[in-house]
Symmetry: C2
Subunit: 445 residues, 2 copies
């Protein structure tokens, strides 16, 4: 068997990010990075020069005036990714779109369009919207309950994939000699009638060079994991330790196997933070330095509240026992994460302050050290089958430079990272097979 | 008063277009033009070199295997326009999005994002979806009736504009010395509770250099014209003759005046076809040549049926009286156009064949002649206040070349066309003022 290689994504949030609330203070970063397309293009080109698999764009659609800065002002993922598509040639372009507040026909169309514009490099990160308040922006009083959220999500993805099968690969004949444009026998309606959606089809866009966009999924509950195991090509998650990563990896690959899927065809790519220094000690200093710059407990408390439907934790005494009643507010939000925190806090008798500290462990794993150390650790995670790759949080610009200049060559030397792109599509980079066109995949019930 | 100048848009449909069903047969055009981003980029750059105001992208979301070729396979407007945004610097980017099957929060967001990516060059062509069959792709049995379509449209545009007022212009302080990112007093929720939508807001995207995207509108009924007069900056229409243009122009500017608007701040830009030859006779030969290439009566009959909800007119005797019962099928489609044809056919005692011929008159006006003749005619339409400009159908590539190389300089000589861009935003090109930010424009009822 050939050596498994790390897959790498560049996860960008511009002016900040979880645990990096004041990233915009870094003078190396444009202060308006989150809405500055030129900055995104620079990052994408830098990531492409370093042979990254993909750009990864997260999303949210709910803010209040008190939201942490990185939520306040962001480009919409797919308009952003189209701009990146014509500014790059090889790197994949993965956008987050929620199944809760988009219709499948629109999602299918926009992603199919991005897939053609990028000549086969599009991906869709399927989410169900963690922020309950999003409902209010879409003519609903309340967010869907969990069962409905995931019921919609499963059906939504099926419909979208069904629409992507509207045209067979060679449907467009375009023969100027005979005057035949389309072979109509290779166009198929969907005629889907389901619990949440009814969609006749067909889609008005041809198949892309990679067949269909790649499916990513993020959402950690039982139904979330089932959705991922059933439909996703790649899972986005967070793992604070190699053991945590391994447990998740085994769980997902096992679920995929149970569904008759090849476990090598579903990849696990958690988020990761990187701090590279001249020595391990120097790297820890850098991490410490940035932590002080980026961090304020007030903002950390706010961000902590996100898992609990942006519950306001500033109303409590930080040193009193963790307020279990806050879990109620998390019901239609990031409930899996919130419950993990609340349960752990009860077991350990944590105060609120301790729970916030523990919450940091649900954040991405951090790789801190000299280039050699970071490369070694990343290779260890790969070899231990804790991951198939990482989505690297692009934070302070100097750090991304060091990673690409110093760590990437070491990963290549070890044979755990490519030295050239395998092809021109995202599926080729990720080693994913091209789905065959199976028209009428979603049948009328 | 300074000389009024023509505004020009480039309307692209790739492999075909109304009355140009076989455009893809032209070997000068890539056969896959409608989904070929490189072709669109070439056109946009050519139009920008000719100082065009804007690219204009129409839309449809309903096909069957029998649809004319130019409907079968198209890029989605906003993903396409983002790709053009970073490939050009001055030209405006106008995309068609329907208010019937999109939610206002998504529309506001995607357009605001395009507006930032293009640094102030985005526009929205507001339509209500002429194809009744679109409903089936969006979980509805039937298209909305007319009253609902236009009721939704009016409220939808208000909400979108309200969301675009979420942030005042100087809301983002981004002061690294004081650490202040946002001035929260300059962020405003919408709290809209309406008949069709309820949207809390605020939007998570800052204002653009042109304040807000430019609003275009297309739809010709009484409620359609009222919607345009009330909310649009530019009206897209078709006018077969200068008199038809003048009547429409007077009607719309009058409606705008009645609403207390400055009639100079609402522009009329009908579609136009151009055939340029060495002499007038040569141009007519070219038109004739292309007409024979592009045209088949079978396809013309099909396209004619579009106004009537894609009614199948091939079932009738072409030389029998026009089948008035077909109007029933047009109820939730392009009813205004269909009724005009049917009424006219009854008055004149037309056969179906004659009605189809008459239907061609509802198509864009054609400017046919030597470069001098075309420039003269276009200037005449401007001076007669039949138009403020044209959206030129980009058809056979050789013709667009001739237009930009030969006609544009003549328009400039006559002083009816710019010799340099006025600024960098679409509003500056069109001479539109920047809307002031009036937070809470749409109030809770
Ligand atoms: C690692 C991770 C990343 C996520 N990213 C997003 C995102 O970008 N946008 C979003 O709306 N929801 C995001 N979600 C939310 C999920 O889609 C889901 O709504 C939420 O996690 C609750 O579901 P769960 O209990 O299954 O995790 C993310 C969830 C996880 C676990
Ligand atoms: C000149 C013109 C262009 C139009 N372009 C589009 C379009 O690109 N996409 C679309 O879905 N509807 C389009 N429409 C349809 C209108 O939005 C509307 O649904 C239809 O014309 C029926 O309304 P009306 O009777 O007011 O004209 C267009 C209409 C006109 C008159």
């Amino acid at each position: 068997m050939t050596q498994r290689q790390l897959k790498l994504g560049a996860l960008t949030m511009g002016c900040g990010g979880p645990g990096r609330h004041n990233l915009w203070l870094d003078p190396q970063l444009p202060a308006d990075a989150s809405v500055n397309v030129d900055w995104y293009i620079d990052i994408a080109r830098q990531a492409e020069a370093a042979l990254f698999d993909l750009m990864f764009i997260v999303d949210s659609q709910f803010i209040t005036e008190g939201s942490p800065s990185h939520y306040l002002n962001r480009l919409e993922p797919l308009t952003l990714l189209s701009a990146l598509a014509v500014s790059t040639r090889h790197i994949g372009l993965v956008g987050t779109l929620t199944t809760s507040y988009n219709s499948p026909y629109n999602v299918a169309r926009r992603l199919a369009s991005l897939d053609l514009i990028s000549k086969g490099r599009a991906g869709w990160n399927v989410v169900t919207s963690g922020d309950a308040g999003t409902a209010g922006n879409y003519s609903r009083d309340e967010h869907y309950d969990y069962a409905t959220r995931y019921g919609r999500a499963a059906e939504h993805v099926q419909v979208v994939q069904g629409l992507w099968n509207s045209y067979e690969e060679d449907a467009f004949v375009r023969n100027r000699a005979t005057g035949q444009f389309l072979d109509p026998s290779k166009l198929h309606s969907l005629n889907h009638q389901g619990e949440h959606f009814s969609v006749v089809g067909p889609l008005n866009i041809q198949r892309s060079p990679q067949g269909q966009p790649v499916i990513f999924q993020a959402g950690d509950s039982e139904p979330g994991r089932d959705l991922g195991a059933a439909t996703a090509d790649v899972i986005f998650t967070h793992a604070a330790s190699i053991e945590q990563g391994q447990a998740f990896y085994r769980d997902i690959k096992g679920r995929a196997l149970q569904r008759g899927r090849d476990p090598e065809q579903i990849l696990i790519m958690p988020g990761a933070e990187i701090y590279v220094g001249d020595t391990d000690a120097h790297a820890r200093e850098i991490e410490q330095h940035y932590h002080q710059l980026d961090h304020s407990f007030e903002l950390a408390l706010k961000e902590f509240g996100r898992n609990f439907g942006w519950h306001d934790f500033s109303q409590y005494d930080l040193d009193a026992p963790f307020p279990q009643e806050s879990l109620e507010a998390a019901r239609s939000s990031f409930f899996t994460a919130a419950k993990r925190i609340a349960d752990h806090a009860r077991e350990k008798g944590f105060t609120l302050r301790q729970a916030v500290e523990f919450g940091r462990q649900l954040r991405p794993g951090a790789f801190v050290g000299s280039a050699v150390t970071v490369a070694e650790k990343m290779a260890d995670w790969l070899q231990a089958r804790a991951v198939d790759g990482f989505n690297i949080y692009i934070g302070h610009p100097g750090q991304f430079d060091r990673f690409t200049r110093e760590v990437i060559p070491l990963l290549q030397e070890r044979g755990v990272y490519r030295t050239a792109y395998e092809g021109s599509t995202l599926r080729e980079s990720l080693g994913l097979s091209i789905p065959t066109c199976t028209p009428g995949r979603v049948q009328a019930r």
